[in-house]
Symmetry: C2
Subunit: 417 residues, 2 copies
């Protein structure tokens, strides 16, 4: 099956928004084993949309449309397709009820043109919209499948994943489900990770194992197809175990975990409190941790000691220590961790100091960072980073490495190592 | 002139990257008065690229290609176009020198296939790449203009803006330059801003005035065309003055300014030091300010007092104040600002307290935030926010509002109001 994604919307052609929908839909189709050959964007113009559809009909057998399903006169995707396929537009009762419920829920007044959103192509399968009003549609005609989904990404995403993909697998005669499992890594680069799990990447077909890198972390996405969710999970489990045996020490979480959600989960779960002393990161570590609701029972607070005087006055870092070892040193990181723990009366103390850049700091090259962590037992671990990014990339990465090392230290204690 | 943007790259069709280039190129073409009618994406496949080019040749008179100019065998954009236009590929001396210089600068070894990147279409105008190796090209044939730019956005952007746009304006016979001026707003929504400057938005043609909203701020982009940069600036100046007379109090900066760069500029320029006490933002305010290089002379540091005990112990907020007014109150925000200023011996103190959510805090609804600011004169100003976003959107907006109010307070002092 060859697919084309047609996004409809003049705001895309004006460059006011980016076509993230095409990337999302493409990745989900790839996962389902459907090859995407083209992306097209056209404006809110029925003639040009019609021409684009004719071109697509000549070169693919699945066309996914995103956008143009709304209530205004600019929204003409389904009208244009109805005309081309010789289909009627008819009001769908369940869609209409869902739109009315949406207005009731948000306390807004439903105007007449909103009813237009409940119109669907006769003979189509309606795809439910659980995050907005316009329903999606799926229809087949002359051997070509047409899928219509709304433009707003937060409506389109769940609909495409939960309604359109199962429809497509059914059409393809595959009574299959797709299950994905994401393993999240920190402290290892994409190249090294790929090298270490090379044989799995190359030989695995069900689940497929695909690496994806974001600017500062790497994930492996395991995707299995099977007759049932249960069976798909059974395909994934042994491959995940094999990956963990090879590179498990770099895995901090799975699926929707973030470094801060995972750290918060461990802190809250073990009823430990934490305080931080931040120099180069200037609050980023604490701010990331405070992203997580419910963290107030664990995060007592901390001190940003951006200049040397603040380190001495606010956290009693001895001038002699700074003279002997410097501000960017394991000794300073350890003292920051120890002293902020004492000052806030917390179970865990963490200290970050380093040269963010653009200039060297304290004689240490840009990107040198020391992190100190002390847990309940009072022992202090220090970690050194040599980062190579821009000033702000270095600051963000330092805060995230601190979360990563915190997770590792807490896990060590948990498992009694 | 009608344009189509063809992005070449299988990674786009796999959904591994998003086609941000199309949005960027579209916005710059719109500014130059050129209408974009289509975006197309094809993979690294010469036959399908050829077919896409034939379709484009039938419907537009400018085709912009992004991607496929690199050194590997997958990179075939210029080879395919050369074949279709009957042009030769010839080595461009200046491009070759620039590639050799790039390798010298980065200390890497130049391999033979890198020379392929210096090949350009015979008869084309070479567009210099100041951020990478592959040169761009511009060529006309049978009334159709072809522009080729590399795929990496940080190479493509400057090349398109500084090389391709002037080329296109020349081709169009417009001996014109385009000058843009961006006015940046905070503390006013897009709808209200548009309402207040409605007559300007509707009637201005040179410069055009376009609003653009990001999740938490609004900008107005003024774009003038003229025979010279000087003349274009003269078109912009009176319109900017008119906008400032209407909504100047919400403008915090221009062009590349950010809230933190502007606050830092005012702090450093007036040699003032600052310390912050953060509750709900947990370090975000300080971390944003520390984004700016050179801030270490002004930012002394601060305290994150996330729980109530920390507020009492670390910043001497009296229990009686918290009992009488609560944690989320102007009194608490003022005391945080005053006490952190004293504790750190800074010129300016700033305090943030509020209910980030998801639950109400201290009996105040989610989104209620108080900010206190005290400057050299010891007077304290407090500001209330009623934010309506998610927990983390509220925390980010609170930190940014604090930067915005800080800028306003410093400007007031500067102008002696």
């Amino acid at each position: 099956m060859k697919a084309e994604i047609i996004a409809v919307g003049s705001e895309l052609l004006l460059g006011q928004i980016t076509n993230t929908n095409a990337a999302f839909i493409s990745s989900r189709l790839a996962e389902a084993g459907i090859d995407v050959y083209y992306h097209t964007v056209v404006g809110d113009n029925p003639k040009r949309l019609e021409e684009a559809i004719m071109i697509a009909q000549n070169r693919v057998d699945l066309i996914v449309f995103s956008g143009g399903l709304g209530p205004t006169k600019d929204d003409l995707t389904k009208e244009t397709i109805a005309k081309m396929l010789g289909a009627e537009l008819e009001s769908d009762q369940s869609a209409l009820l869902s739109i009315e419920a949406y207005f009731n829920r948000t306390g807004r007044i439903m105007t007449e043109n909103n009813k237009k959103q409940a119109l669907v192509l006769s003979g189509s399968t309606v795809l439910m919209n659980n995050h907005g009003m316009a329903p999606g549609m799926a229809i087949e005609k002359n051997g070509i499948s047409y899928i219509l989904v709304p433009g707003p990404p937060h409506e389109m995403g769940p609909m495409f994943e939960n309604e359109a993909i199962p429809y497509l697998l059914g059409t393809l005669g595959k009574r299959e489900v797709i299950v994905s499992r994401v393993l999240k890594f920190y402290g290892i680069g994409e190249a090294e990770l790929e090298y270490r799990v090379q044989s799995i990447l190359e030989n695995q077909t069900n689940p497929t194992v695909a690496p994806l890198a974001s600017p500062d972390s790497v994930i492996l996405r395991l995707t299995a197809k099977a007759q049932s969710i249960e069976a798909a999970k059974n395909f994934i489990a042994p491959v995940e175990a094999e990956i963990r045996s090879l590179v498990g020490q770099f895995i901090y979480g799975t699926d929707d975990d973030t470094l801060s959600s995972k750290a918060a989960e461990l802190l809250i779960g073990s009823q430990l409190t934490i305080a931080a002393a931040e120099s180069l990161t200037a609050g980023l570590f604490m701010a990331e941790l405070a992203d997580v609701p419910g963290i107030s029972s664990s995060l007592k607070g901390g001190v940003v000691v951006y200049d040397e005087e603040a380190k001495k006055v606010q956290l009693d870092i001895p001038a002699s220590l700074l003279d002997e070892f410097g501000v960017v040193s394991p000794e300073c990181a350890a003292a920051l961790a120890r002293n902020v723990k004492r000052k806030f009366g917390s179970d865990i103390g963490i200290g970050l100091t380093g040269a963010a850049g653009p200039d060297p700091h304290d004689g240490k090259p840009m990107g040198t960072v020391w992190i100190g962590i002390t847990l309940q037992d009072g022992k202090v671990e220090t970690y050194k980073l040599n980062l190579s990014g821009s000033r702000n990339a270095n600051r963000k990465r330092a805060a995230r490495f601190a979360l990563y090392y915190l997770i590792q230290e807490m896990k060590k204690r948990e498992s009694g190592i």
